[in-house]
């Protein structure tokens, strides 16, 4: 009996020590909120859109899910891939992908928002914890993107604008896929590769006029339209 246990232990220990056939590296993605090429500063910095709005931004938070890298020979999809990016928390702006197979990758893709199954999966933890203020109660589901701020052009209380973009049910789905082409990004065995992804909110604000569009807070046609605009803010340098 003892011999048998000993043998099993040795065999299982040996099993773990077999060197892997594929080599792996790490990718560190930084998602940098910007407006017109300038780093985004919340609350105190006045920005100007090409549609004539002067505005302050008070909050920017969004979900990124199903992060994936695609190359000609290698593919990598992150497991349990849900990230809440918050302009106020610099720690939230880094996504570290470990155990990425070595190779050359042509594109990075992810979804803005969370898939419909996540919306009906019950109480979830981590970045999906409902205490994080990204969950709607009465018409329940995750908010994919929150953009809040102020502009004198808004005929609203405190001149505030509020965009809470979400909704996973047809006809107003608001989850959008982003594919960012990469310039033959290499993942090297045992090394960390760094990738900077910018999110330029000018591409969002230059397509709306805050006098007209200043409050979108339920799943709707307007939310779907603004989700289309937000899809275009991402690019890699």
């Amino acid at each position: 009996m003892r011999n048998l246990l000993f043998a099993i232990t040795i065999i299982s220990l040996y099993g773990f020590s077999i060197p892997p056939k594929t080599a792996f590296g790490t990718l560190e993605i930084t998602i940098k909120p910007q407006l017109s090429g300038q780093p985004l500063i919340l609350t105190n910095k006045l920005y100007h859109s090409t549609t004539g709005d002067s505005l302050y931004i008070d909050a920017l938070r969004f979900y990124i899910s199903a992060v994936q890298l695609d190359g000609k020979t290698a593919v990598f999809a992150e497991n349990n891939s849900y990230h809440l990016i918050d302009a106020e928390e610099s720690g939230s702006q880094t996504i570290i992908l470990k155990n990425v197979p070595v190779g050359t990758y042509q594109s990075l893709s992810f979804y803005i928002g969370t898939d419909s199954l996540t919306n009906v999966a019950g109480a979830l933890g981590g970045d999906l914890d409902p205490t994080l203020g990204m969950y709607w109660a009465w018409n329940s589901g995750y908010i994919n993107v929150k953009v809040e701020g102020r502009s004198n052009n808004c005929p609203t209380l405190y001149h505030a604008f509020e965009f809470h973009l979400g909704g996973y049910m047809p006809p107003h789905q608001t989850v959008r896929k982003v594919v960012i082409p990469l310039d033959k990004m290499k993942i090297v065995a045992g090394k960390t590769t760094f990738l900077l992804v910018n999110t330029d909110l000018a591409k969002f604000f230059n397509r709306i006029q805050l006098a007209m569009t200043n409050k979108v807070v339920i799943p709707s046609k307007a939310a779907a339209q603004m989700a289309d605009y937000f899809q275009d803010v991402f690019y890699a340098k």
Partner: protein
């Protein structure tokens, strides 16, 4: 050999420790004979007695509200089927009044949507609505979790339930679900009649009432849950003060205008007042609505297009049958009551 001995004892010790640290004895929801399987996925939130007790404590704790005055049990009283007896609309902090009737809570493991308009898709997420609604508890989930983490009693209870004393939004909601999932009512006189058990003997009036029920009501209020789980416009004229169009608010489909969740009829004797806005106080008023009060509109349910015709005696028999859905074992089950320490 020495190595293997130490390894073996280490393994045994780890196993023993792992068993010890799991203090939550597993609980199981017993599916009553002849019932469908529950829709709730227990694999994501396994029931334990420690989780159930935590959920029960939370359910009865006004700490969940902004000013610590309102608990879930304020509007969901056990003795009346976890409904708010005699109150047409739900009540909130500082005397605020909501805009719908607090529904009875039972057999929710079989429910796939929640609230009168079905706006909530999962039981775990349902409590976020009353907790954050300004007309009810007017609190944030973040504050609730913070208050729980500042309470020694809860740190101990979270540790017992989840093996970690930290309260999170996920764990708080899962514990509430564990309590609510076990609120199972399946021992009414009707159930005993179906199972042919002692105490289930129907008299002639109740038998006649059952036949009338099955002919006119059971396609929406489907046995054994006494709800199909669907939504219907049951011909109620819109209340001009509330202007509540039900499911329209959720889907924005015109065909969902005036559709409301079909409620269970179990324990209906005590869950008055009735309907989404609590407009009817007596069961006979409800029956009279279906025979004489149906208002036609483009979304009126097809099953109510042909008028239901009942004599006065038939109405009385129908009500007599509805009273057989009262389950006193459930209404007075000490496990579901206020947790006395």
């Amino acid at each position: 050999m020495f190595l293997s001995k130490r390894l073996l004892s280490f393994c045994l010790f780890s196993l023993f420790f792992a068993l010890l640290s799991f203090t939550g004895d597993e609980l199981k929801l017993v599916v009553p004979e002849g019932w469908p399987q529950p829709v709730y996925d227990f694999s994501n939130n396994p029931l334990t007695s420690a989780g159930f007790q935590l959920g029960r404590q939370l359910f009865y704790d006004p700490l969940l509200s902004r000013d610590t005055t309102i608990s879930c049990a304020s509007c969901h009283l056990q003795a009346t089927g976890f409904a708010h007896v005699d109150h047409a609309l739900s009540h909130g902090i500082v005397g605020r009044i909501g805009h719908r009737n607090a529904p009875a809570l039972m057999n929710l493991a079989w429910s796939s949507s929640f609230m009168w308009d079905g706006g909530v898709q999962h039981l775990d997420m349902q409590p976020i609505s009353p907790i954050t609604s300004p007309a009810e508890m007017d609190e944030t989930m973040k504050n609730v979790v913070e208050k729980l983490n500042n309470t020694g009693k809860y740190r101990r209870m979270f540790h017992a339930a989840f093996g970690d004393s930290l309260a999170t939004g996920q764990r708080t909601l899962q514990a509430l679900s564990q309590f609510i999932l076990l609120l199972n009512s399946a021992n009414s006189k009707y159930d005993k009649f179906i199972r042919q058990e002692p105490g289930g003997e129907f008299n002639a009036q109740e038998m006649n009432g059952l036949a009338i029920f099955r002919q006119h009501c059971a396609t929406c209020h489907t046995e054994p849950l006494f709800t199909s789980g669907g939504f219907a416009n049951n011909g109620l004229p819109v209340d001009t003060a509330l202007l509540d169009f039900g499911r329209l608010r959720i889907t924005q489909h015109p065909q969902d205008s005036l559709l409301f969740k079909i409620p269970t009829l179990r324990n209906i004797q005590f869950t008055y007042p009735y309907m989404h806005d609590g407009r009817f106080k007596k069961l006979l008023e409800v029956v009279n609505h279906y025979t004489a009060g149906i208002q036609n509109s483009p979304t009126l349910d097809a099953r109510l297009q042909t008028p239901i015709v009942l004599t006065h005696e038939q109405k009385i028999d129908l009500v007599a049958f509805l009273l057989t859905l009262t389950d006193r074992e459930f209404l007075f089950d000490a496990r579901f009551g206020f947790p006395r320490e």
